[in-house]
């Protein structure tokens, strides 16, 4: 049977379970980048993110039956696995010393040098971005994932709630705390006065 690019995930997963490599490849290409970006933004490590994405799809290959269409969408299921892998990554992180802090191309955060930028401006912006990234990475993991999904992935609260399998209220509350912490860190970077009343509560 021919596979169309717009086949539903469930259909592709069924074929994947039967050993259809084309279906699996489409599934992989459809979701891998999103999961990778999420993992990268959560871990700050390209190698770590690659490992996580690989593990997620290996889980899908080994146990496709784990996914239950009644309980949610495949992307939500994959996000769930990714989150677990990220948690495990962070659990074992203190035991590992990363030798690779930067991406393979040598850049720190994928910022590209544009013609209109002078090297000084580029360096300044890059430094600023690194600080923002560090501030996001400093957030406790449950706040960080909400900030990553809503602020960096630009998901709606509803989408984020489905991805994290929790009520919208939880998203709102985590986002509120996460923003408060993040803003406090960023204001510290800017030497601005602290304005958030709930920080440190």
């Amino acid at each position: 049977m021919k596979i169309r690019k717009n086949d539903q995930d469930d259909e592709l997963l069924k074929r994947t379970a039967k050993g259809d490599e084309d279906a699996f490849t489409i599934l992989y290409r459809r979701h891998a980048d999103v999961l990778y970006r999420f993992a990268f933004r959560m871990t700050g490590s390209s190698w770590g993110a690659e490992e996580i994405v690989q593990d997620v799809f290996m889980t899908l290959v080994r146990e496709p039956g784990k996914y239950d269409a009644e309980r949610g969408t495949l992307p939500a299921f994959l996000f769930g696995i990714t989150r677990n892998k990220i948690m495990k990554y962070h659990e074992r992180l203190p035991r590992e010393v990363s030798l690779v802090e930067r991406q393979e191309d040598g850049s720190g955060g994928g910022l590209t040098l544009r013609d209109s930028f002078t090297p000084a401006m580029w360096a300044e912006q890059r430094e600023r971005l690194e600080k923002v990234r560090a501030a996001v990475m400093d957030l406790p993991i449950e706040f960080r994932e909400t900030v990553v999904l809503c602020e960096l992935e630009e998901m709606s609260y509803d989408q984020a709630a489905r991805m994290l399998d929790c009520p919208i209220g939880t998203i709102r509350s985590r986002l509120h705390r996460g923003r408060a912490l993040l803003l406090a860190k960023l204001e510290m970077l800017r030497d601005a006065p602290r304005r958030w009343s709930s920080v440190g509560r």
């Binding site: 490599e21 699996f24 490849t25 992989y28 980048d33 955060g109 609260y157 304005r195």
Partner: protein, 228 residues
């Protein structure tokens, strides 16, 4: 709306679907009257710009192709037909067995070659030797080698006193022949020793040397010795 509600709902009222138009209006109203919350809103707006820049910087990130390769390999491994897997297993074992057999023969051959290098390999005597030997067989046992070739000399019988124990037996020769043989001293190129299975220094291969041959009653060389 008070300040705490503003912090929870006000900063992202545009995206939070549950706030509604009425709620958004209240947020704006509160920001107009509360300078602290207005400043907080402005500060968050600045932070959002920075977050957007961070998002933009990593938006083009893609998972490396090697991950896809690895994942697909695992997929193929998992879904490889059982028969194919069995065949592969069989092929692996067959290859391993073949390698063992080849190694065994290789070692055996090497052993054989080493024995040959010590003087037990088969080979034919060089022309000058054969000539001397056949001449010896045709003529008298007492004939002097100088009558046969310029460079050769026949020493009849008498292993005694000539270090007979230094002779290296040639392949195909018999002990009986050795006992009845005569010693023939011949001159030959050092390279010709290779025909007896003796190691030859290639740098000196073209040198002429004296060699003692123990010749049997049929005139063929049975053993060889290099006199000092």
């Amino acid at each position: 709306m008070n300040c705490e509600e503003f912090e929870i709902l006000g900063l992202d009222s545009q995206r939070d679907g549950s706030v509604g138009d009425d709620g958004r209006e209240r947020v704006l109203q509160h920001a107009r009257v509360c300078g602290r919350c207005a400043a907080l809103g402005a500060s968050w707006a600045a932070a959002q710009v920075e977050l957007a820049a961070l998002a933009e910087s990593s938006r083009s990130l893609h998972v490396h192709a090697r991950v896809e390769t690895r994942v697909l390999q695992q997929f193929r491994l998992k879904h490889q037909p059982r028969q194919e897997r069995r065949f592969l297993q069989f092929a692996t074992w067959a290859l391993a067995a073949a390698a063992v057999i080849v190694c065994t023969f290789g070692v055996w051959d090497l052993h054989k070659w080493r024995r040959g290098a010590l003087g037990v390999t088969t080979g034919t005597a060089p022309a000058t030797v054969r000539y001397a030997v056949s001449s010896l067989a045709g003529g008298s046992a007492n004939t002097n080698a100088s009558t046969i070739t310029d460079d050769s000399e026949i020493l009849i019988a008498g292993n005694e006193g000539n270090g007979g124990n230094d002779f290296t037996q040639l392949p195909g020769s018999s002990l009986q022949e050795l006992e009845d043989g005569a010693i023939v001293r011949v001159g030959m190129e050092r390279a010709s020793l290779a025909a007896f299975g003796l190691p030859v220094n290639e740098d000196e291969a073209s040198d002429w040397i004296q060699v003692d041959l123990l010749v049997g009653s049929d005139g063929s060389a049975q053993a060889v010795r290099l006199p000092e």
